[in-house]
């Protein structure tokens, strides 16, 4: 029998542990989510770091 798994940290605990770089990415994504109604956000990750945030916004015109 395996030992009891280590309990996963709660979302609150995880947020408290984020590095400054991770907070910056989340803040930028949150800004985008607030601004656009329909669309897509793509995070480009290289070597474990977000190096680019791309976005497409969709508008219905009729």
């Amino acid at each position: 029998m395996a030992d009891d798994p280590v309990p996963k940290p709660s979302t609150q605990e995880r947020l408290a542990d984020l590095t400054d770089d991770e907070r910056l990415v989340l803040a930028k994504v949150a800004d985008i989510v607030q601004k656009i109604k329909y669309g897509t956000v793509v995070l480009v990750i290289q070597d474990g770091k977000v190096v680019q945030i791309e976005m497409a916004e969709k508008f219905r015109l009729r």
């Binding site: 897509t40 793509v42 480009v44 680019q52 976005m55 497409a56 969709k58 219905r60 015109l61 009729r62």
Partner: protein
């Protein structure tokens, strides 16, 4: 884009900002069919294109996208509504708007460099400057070694590159493209798409490009804004604004996603309109 008052004509808006580079105001274009019926090609389209934007118009066959481009080029006139350049009605073609057609329309009796020089002559470039400027643009499109060739000696892709050099050599504010890469093979098309992306980026916001295409991947690759039109009579259906750095690649995650979304809505329109 639809929040500007329809029919408003101004050289400066209420905030003192310059007017859109190109604008359509409630534009309608009708034609008389051979059976004598009135057919609506473009149905109440309002659109702003600002300086430095790269816009692609996409839609099913016969949706009026080429009609819109011809009106912006000054080759056709609206039935009602307005087409504006810098806030003023478009009265006809001008050297400030170059057009790239699907067929490169080169003069067959002039050499490659001669074709570019001929355009420069028409915009008033002095004779002693024409050769250098023409050769500079031919270098940009990788045709230096073919400067003295005749158009019939070139491949289709090279002919279209000559047409691109000829269009851009005149330093137009606006480049209008009507399926400019539609007749090219896949490799030549990719080369031209990269050239166009590069030229647009290097213009640093000075040049405005409006291309008509039925190629969804091409539109998502090139444009800041992809405008999808309905089946005939053509109205604007959906806009995708793409914020991704250039040069883009067709397999970029965002480009792929936008392509699949546009493809879905376009297929729906095609099936409604019976177009292809």
């Amino acid at each position: 884009m639809a929040d500007r008052a329809e029919g408003a004509v101004a050289t400066m808006d209420e905030r003192g900002a310059p007017p859109p580079k190109l604008a359509l105001r409630d534009l309608v274009k009708t034609r008389r069919s051979t059976a004598g019926e009135t057919v609506t090609a473009v149905d109440h389209v309002t659109l702003d294109v600002f300086q430095g934007e790269f816009v692609c118009l996409l839609g099913p066959s016969g949706c009026g996208k080429t009609t819109i481009l011809n009106i912006l080029a000054g080759l056709d006139a609206p039935t009602s509504g307005q087409a504006l350049l810098d806030g003023r009605p478009i009265a006809g073609p001008g050297p400030d708007r170059a057009v790239l057609f699907q067929e490169p329309a080169l003069f067959p009796w002039l050499s490659v460099v001669g074709n570019v020089e001929f355009a420069l002559k028409h915009v008033g470039v002095p004779q002693d400057e024409r050769r250098d400027r023409a050769m500079g643009w031919l270098e940009n499109v990788h045709l230096t070694n073919f400067a003295n060739a005749q158009p019939h000696e070139l491949s289709a892709g090279m002919r279209q590159r000559t047409a691109l050099a000829r269009a851009l050599a005149c330093d137009p504010d606006v480049l209008l493209g009507d399926e400019p890469f539609g007749a090219l093979d896949a490799q030549a098309r990719e080369l031209l798409q990269n050239e166009v992306q590069r030229v647009w980026v290097e213009s640093e916001g000075r040049k405005t490009f409006v291309f008509v295409t039925h190629n969804v991947r091409e539109a998502a690759l090139l444009a800041d804004r992809v405008l999808v039109m309905t089946a005939a009579p053509g109205k604007l259906l959906e806009e995708q604004r793409i914020y991704a750095p250039r040069p883009r690649q067709l397999d970029d995650a965002l480009v792929s996603r936008v392509v699949s979304e546009i493809h879905e809505i376009l297929m729906l329109e095609v099936s409604k309109g019976g177009g292809s």
